[in-house]
Symmetry: C2
Subunit: 141 residues, 2 copies
């Protein structure tokens, strides 16, 4: 078993995000919240996770300001809604690489035309399309 | 401690991706690979993780086709490079929400102009900007 480590003393925003979302259960809870789950039972049915684990993860997401909890409903805050590109990025990568050809999988569609979304692209502030090699990380001095 | 669960029987591409990347250590290894780490020692210095854990995570990333291992170097495969939007999405969310105002953090810059990247946007196939409410998940029947 791997000891849970906190990354929030790191100056890297990727590590901080990893710490705030907490673990993969938390990310799948956020996914379900985007897909319409609101009640404890909704998340439990979707995830098939033990009640004590789900309860701890929901509390942690509320403590981190990602979910609001009121009137038995868990809803995404603005900070939670801002995880949309993270979920879409994981979904598109999974669609491209994690299924055999022809293997069925759920799809994220645009509600208006019922078409798959455009693949996410990384752009410079002036609009140029960027590959990883076109970028550099500037470390904190 | 939370039992490690495999999600790869799920029809959801988010869950499959979560399973393939394995855990947060794996994602931070991928981050470091994008930032130029290639050798075991590079990753160890950056992550401060125990050798046995790092070794297991590197092997798992190789087994999943995300890293290649040759001549003591670990390098991203095409499948690994395709995780770029996932890393960028986590980074931008962290930059927006995981630091106090004025708190220093590393930055991902466009190499040509040394400017921060454009925030990721989710678009429909016809180019319309989409919010979460503009999308729907079609479950596998």
């Amino acid at each position: 078993m791997v000891k849970r480590t906190r990354f929030d003393d790191e100056s890297c925003p990727v590590a901080r995000s990893v710490d705030a979302v907490g673990d993969w259960w938390s990310l799948l809870i956020v996914r379900d919240a985007f897909d319409g789950s609101r009640r404890f039972g909704d998340f439990q049915r979707s995830l098939g996770v033990a009640k004590n684990i789900l309860s701890a993860r929901l509390s942690s997401l509320v403590d981190n300001g990602i979910l609001d909890h009121a009137d038995r409903d868990y809803t995404l805050t603005a900070k939670g809604e801002a995880l949309f590109p993270v979920i879409v990025a994981l979904r598109q990568w999974g669609e491209a690489f994690a299924f055999d050809p022809g293997e069925p999988h759920s799809r994220l569609l645009d509600r208006q035309h019922h078409q798959p979304l455009k693949p996410l692209e990384v752009h410079a502030s002036d609009g140029r399309l960027l590959t990883p090699a076109d970028t550099e990380v500037r470390k904190v001095p």
